[in-house]
Symmetry: C2
Subunit: 297 residues, 2 copies
């Protein structure tokens, strides 16, 4: 249930100008505009489950995206039924989009990887909620190592187009015909960044797999530990559950979201304090908060 100061579930990961959106509850396009994310970036929407507070904002975002000329295709990833949900609303509301929409639905035989492009790979894993629910892990591809310009020059490759070839992993020839391989001028590959998005689930094992060694994990912290009975009955985690899992999974930074409307803004410090008892690097996410994850050296 949204609050005047707390929109429904949605988290945008922006990587090299592309935006990968995780969930889009009703009103996500309002948050999108407030965050000034622009039209062009959105490439992928990954949906955890077919509850209204996680997906009813998709049609609005799709229409918003039609405001620009020739948008790139949009990929929607999610549980079985996500395509039908979108298509029946497109039909009922007669809304047209000016770009291709690709759907990838989970099924029992689906590979672990839901999506990939030049920059990232997205993995999914079933969790346990009152309705079939997926958690997500996004892995940025490793980047090539740093180019050592001085070393290239000393090997007989002056600044010029050959530098680009080496940086892209190609072997080149010096003027004297000597082969220079990329490994000779590039540092070790820099590992890509990793994030997880895990909401609306009991504290099940699959969460570890998704969160393992991530740089940042967005996890639901819906209830205080004293309301654990509610969490259990409704298929949710407490902040304590989330913090414990984050710590054990080697998460570098955990952000707790999907806070129950029973807690108002003045309660958030208590939620954070309870979580920190289990894991130091945890904080409560608030509307429009942004987190920068530095590229690895």
């Amino acid at each position: 249930m949204p609050m005047p100061y707390r929109l429904l579930a949605s988290m945008a990961a922006r990587i090299d100008g592309r935006i990968y959106l995780f969930d889009a509850g009703e009103g996500t396009q309002l948050g999108w505009k407030k965050a000034r994310l622009g039209y062009r970036g959105l490439h992928v929407i990954a949906v955890t489950h077919l509850h209204a507070d996680h997906c009813l904002g998709i049609p609005g975002l799709m229409m918003l995206r039609s405001q620009m000329d020739s948008p790139p295709p949009l990929t929607i990833i999610g549980p079985p039924g996500i395509e039908e949900f979108i298509q029946l609303n497109r039909k009922a509301l007669e809304f047209h989009v000016n770009y291709p929409v690709l759907f990838v639905e989970w099924n029992e035989d689906a590979p672990e990887m839901a999506y990939e492009d030049e920059a990232v790979r997205i993995f999914w894993h079933p969790l346990q909620h009152t309705r079939f629910c997926l958690g997500y892990r996004l892995e940025e591809r490793d980047r090539p190592g740093k180019f050592n310009a001085r070393r290239a020059e000393s090997l007989g490759i002056p600044q010029g187009p050959l530098w680009g070839k080496l940086q892209r992993g190609e072997t080149v020839l010096t003027e004297t015909g000597k082969e220079i391989s990329p490994e000779q001028v590039l540092g070790p590959p820099r590992p890509g960044r990793r994030l997880a998005y895990v909401v609306d689930t009991l504290p099940v094992k699959g969460i570890y797999r998704l969160c393992k060694d991530t740089d940042i994990a967005f996890m639901e912290g819906m209830f205080l530990p004293e309301d654990a009975q509610h969490a259990d009955a409704k298929g949710h985690m407490t902040v304590t559950d989330a913090a414990r899992i984050a710590g054990r999974a080697g998460v570098k930074q955990a952000v707790l979201t999907h806070i129950s409307p029973r807690y108002h803004d003045e309660d958030l410090e208590r939620l954070e304090a309870a979580a920190k008892e289990r894991f130091e690097k945890v904080s409560i996410g608030r509307d429009l908060d942004t987190y920068s994850v530095a590229l690895k050296p």
Copy 2:
């Protein structure tokens, strides 16, 4: 398209504690909460047409309303297809409501009156838009005339339960057996208030019928007169169209809404000024504005 400072179409009329809602675009439950309208009041949602910015907020409102115990039935009035739109989303999103939902869909043989209860009657009329669209008129029932207590006493009816009977229109007997009829102690009936809600339409004749002599009319003023071509192409009215019709229809107060996102807050004065050239009692409606319409004397 919503703006951070301008939610999508929705107008709530509160009469004697009941709320009659006209349209509910995505995010209406946010406006609902900001306006502190509470859970209990909502009884009727009247939908103009099946475009997302006018009806995608209904599922969220329906779920919000399920937060209270034993809510009264909800009536949803609208164009053909409104029931299917709601039902397919209920099914796809598996959301349950704890009250009966009644649908009233317009059809070619539908009577002019879409809905009535003890307090109001709601009328509809087809307009002309890119999609089939209805305009609405709400008429409050006439209220009994004012009770003349001094006159009742002088006729031999002292303060007590007989006063209530007279006020409810019943004839009573004095202690001496004399019949006293309500007309002897009540002033003339006080006419009910009237409002209209007319958006997303070309300036067609049916609007006059809906707006005729209303106390307040909410009308779209989507464009400035210099953008009349856009208005015409997209099936909308300019502020000039709306103001002209309001003036000719004898509207007492017109509020222009459904402003195009091309106009920002700083442009609203220009829209209002253009409208006022045709009709003095017109203003631009802003998010969460409220208007009180006094009971007639």
